[in-house]
C-alpha cells in the first residue's frame, strides 16, 4: 500500500501492518516499568463501529431506516471527519485497512483491541464508538434513537460477550428523553456494561426535567454517567475557525464545559449525589479554569443557584475525569497544579483514546515525577476499578484496592 506523502521522491510503501509491531516501543515501556504487575483500566478506548456499519444496520428494526441506511450508510453520520490522520501522517489510520485478523468467530474489533491492550500493558478497556460521537447532531431524533438501539444490540450481542476484558457503555439517545430512559433500562444490566454514555456534542440542556427519571435510574444502578466530548466544526461558533487544530482543541473542551456548568448550576450533584459523573476526552486544563470562573461568580450570585451547598469547585473535585488528551506542558508544575485541583489521586482515570490520533500511553501517567507509586496505580487502574466496580480477579487474583 502506497502512503500519501508530500512528493514522489519520498514515498513510502507498506506491504503489511500489525498493531503489535507499531507498538513495539509501547511494549518496551510496559516491560521497563513492570506495568503488568498491577491492573490498568483504560476508561476511554475506541473502536471504529463505522467499519461494521453493515452489521449494525442489520439490527435496525425500522424498515424504512433500515433500507435507507443499507442504500447509503452516510445518512447516519453527521461529522466532518477526515482530518484526524493529518494527511496520512498518523499511519495507523490508512494502514488499519490492511491489518489482518483471524477468522475465528471473535469480532475483528476485539482482536485489534487485544493487540494494543497487550502491547501497552492494559488489562481492561471501556469501549466507545467513534463516528457515533457526533450522532447527537443529526437533526432527526428518530435516527439517533434507532441507531443507538441497533448499536447497543450489536455491541452487547457481538462484541462484549467475546472478551471480559472489553467493557461497554449504554449509548443514550439523549435528544429523546423517553428513548434515553428506555434504552438505559433495556441495556443497563447487560453483560459487560459498566456505565451510561451521553455524547457531549449536542444542544440539549442536561438539567431538563425530562431527564430526571433517567438519572434516577442510573443512580439506582450505581454505575457511572459519562459525558464523552467531541467536536462539531459546523457549530456556528466553531465554524469561525479554519484549522482542525482549533476546532478540535476548543470543541472537545467546550461541550463538556457547557454540560458541566449546567450540571453544577442546576445542583444536579445535590439531586443525584450517588452518580459518579465522569468527564471524558476534554483533557484536564479546563477544569481549573472553569472551577475558578464558577467559584468567583458564585460568591456574588449564590442566590441564582440556591441548590448548592458548597462551592462549584468542590463539586468539581467530587467528580471524575479521564486523563486523555492530557496536556503535557514543558513546565510540569502547571500539570501538578491541575492534578491537585481535581484531586487526581482519587478522581482521575487513565484513558488512552487509542487508536485515535492523540492517544496517550500509560507512561504519560506512570512517568510523572510528582506522583508516588500508589497515586500512579490508582490513576492507571485503581480508581476505575472502584467506580466501575470491576472484578479483576481473572487477571489479578490477589488484587486489593490501595
Amino acid at each position: 500500500m502506497e502512503l500519501p506523502t508530500s512528493d514522489r521522491y519520498h514515498s513510502m510503501s507498506v506491504d503489511s501492518f500489525d498493531t503489535e509491531k507499531l507498538l513495539t516501543n509501547a511494549a518496551r515501556q510496559r516491560d521497563a516499568r513492570n506495568l503488568n504487575d498491577f491492573p490498568i483500566f483504560d476508561a476511554d478506548a475506541h473502536h471504529y463501529e463505522g467499519e461494521s456499519i453493515s452489521e449494525i444496520i442489520e439490527f435496525i428494526d425500522d424498515d424504512i431506516l433500515n433500507h435507507l441506511a443499507r442504500a447509503n450508510p452516510g445518512i447516519i453520520s453527521s461529522g466532518r471527519g477526515g482530518y484526524q490522520p493529518m494527511g496520512g501522517r498518523i499511519t495507523r489510520y490508512p494502514l488499519r485497512k490492511i491489518e489482518e485478523t483471524p477468522s475465528d468467530g471473535t469480532h475483528r474489533d476485539v482482536h485489534l483491541s487485544r493487540r494494543w491492550m497487550d502491547a501497552m500493558g492494559i488489562d481492561y478497556i471501556g469501549l466507545f464508538p467513534t463516528g457515533m460521537l457526533g450522532i447527537g447532531l443529526i437533526p432527526q431524533v428518530e435516527v439517533e434513537v434507532q441507531y443507538a438501539r441497533a448499536y447497543m444490540r450489536w455491541l452487547t450481542e457481538k462484541i462484549l460477550p467475546s472478551d471480559p476484558r472489553v467493557k461497554g457503555y449504554v449509548f443514550l439517545p439523549f435528544n429523546s428523553p423517553e428513548a434515553a430512559y428506555e434504552i438505559a433500562t433495556e441495556f443497563g444490566d447487560k453483560e459487560g456494561i459498566i456505565g451510561f454514555l451521553i455524547t457531549s456534542p449536542r444542544y440539549k440542556p442536561v438539567h431538563d426535567n425530562a431527564y430526571m427519571k433517567t438519572y434516577s435510574y442510573i443512580e439506582e444502578t450505581g454505575k457511572p454517567l459519562i459525558f464523552h466530548s467531541g467536536l462539531n466544526w459546523n457549530d456556528p461558533l466553531m465554524s469561525v475557525t479554519n484549522r482542525f487544530i482549533a476546532a478540535h482543541a476548543l470543541g472537545f473542551t467546550l461541550y463538556n464545559v457547557i454540560h458541566m456548568s449546567n450540571w453544577i448550576c442546576n445542583a444536579l450533584n445535590e439531586r443525584f449525589p450517588k452518580i459518579p459523573v465522569v468527564w471524558t476526552e476534554s483533557g484536564l486544563a479546563w477544569v481549573p479554569w472553569l472551577a475558578q470562573r464558577l467559584d468567583n461568580d458564585y460568591k456574588m450570585r449564590s442566590s441564582e443557584i440556591p441548590g448548592l451547598k458548597k462551592l462549584p469547585s468542590e463539586y468539581m473535585g467530587d467528580m471524575f475525569y479521564t486523563s486523555q488528551p492530557m496536556e503535557m506542558p514543558n513546565d510540569l508544575s502547571f500539570l501538578e497544579s491541575t492534578f491537585k485541583m481535581i484531586n487526581a489521586e482519587t478522581q482521575l482515570l487513565y484513558a488512552s483514546d487509542y487508536p485515535h490520533w492523540d492517544a496517550d500511553m500509560p507512561c504519560t501517567i506512570y512517568d510523572l515525577p510528582f506522583l508516588d507509586e500508589k497515586a500512579k496505580r490508582n490513576i492507571l487502574g485503581g480508581n476505575a476499578i472502584k467506580i466501575f466496580d470491576l472484578d479483576v480477579s481473572d487477571r489479578y487474583p490477589n488484587y486489593k484496592a490501595a
Partner: protein, 123 residues
C-alpha cells in the same frame, strides 16, 4: 565506547530512502539519505516513545503570505524535510533532528560514515 553498525551498501539507497537497523536488542536507528546527505536518528520519539523513524518523510508545510499580509494558501517546502512520528505526528527536521514545533525537543542524532561502498552508523 562507540560502536560501528554496518547499515548496508550506499548504492542500495536512492534519494529519500531510509533503513532501520538494530542498535542492541531493544532499540533501533533510522538511517536516511535525503538531498544527497546521510542522517541517522534513534527510532524513539521524545514525546511518548513512538517509533519516529517508521513514519513518513514529509516536506515542511509553509504558509504563503503576500506582501500586503494577506493569506494566500499553503505549500510544501521540499528543501526542509521532516521525519514524522507515526504515533502522534510530531515532526522533526531531518537536518538536525529537532522537533519543529518546539525545538527544545529532538531525536537523538548519530553520525554516519561512508567508507567505500559501506555505510556505517556510529552508535
Amino acid at each position: 565506547m562507540a560502536k560501528e553498525i554496518l547499515v548496508g551498501k550506499a548504492s542500495d539507497f536512492k534519494e529519500g530512502d531510509k533503513k532501520i537497523v538494530p542498535n542492541g536488542k531493544t532499540s533501533e536507528i533510522g538511517v536516511y539519505l535525503v538531498h544527497g546527505k546521510w542522517y541517522a536518528y534513534a527510532n524513539l520519539c521524545p514525546h511518548q516513545g513512538g517509533p519516529a523513524c517508521e513514519g513518513l518523510l514529509m516536506a515542511k508545510v509553509e504558509e504563503v503570505i503576500a506582501e500586503d499580509k494577506t493569506y494566500q494558501g499553503m505549500r510544501f517546502n521540499h528543501d526542509e524535510m521532516h521525519i514524522v512520528c507515526p504515533w502522534h505526528g510530531w515532526e522533526f527536521d531531518i537536518a538536525d533532528g529537532q522537533a519543529v514545533a518546539d525545538r527544545k525537543w529532538s531525536l537523538r542524532k548519530f553520525e554516519v560514515e561512508v567508507r567505500g561502498e559501506d555505510v556505517y552508523v556510529i552508535a
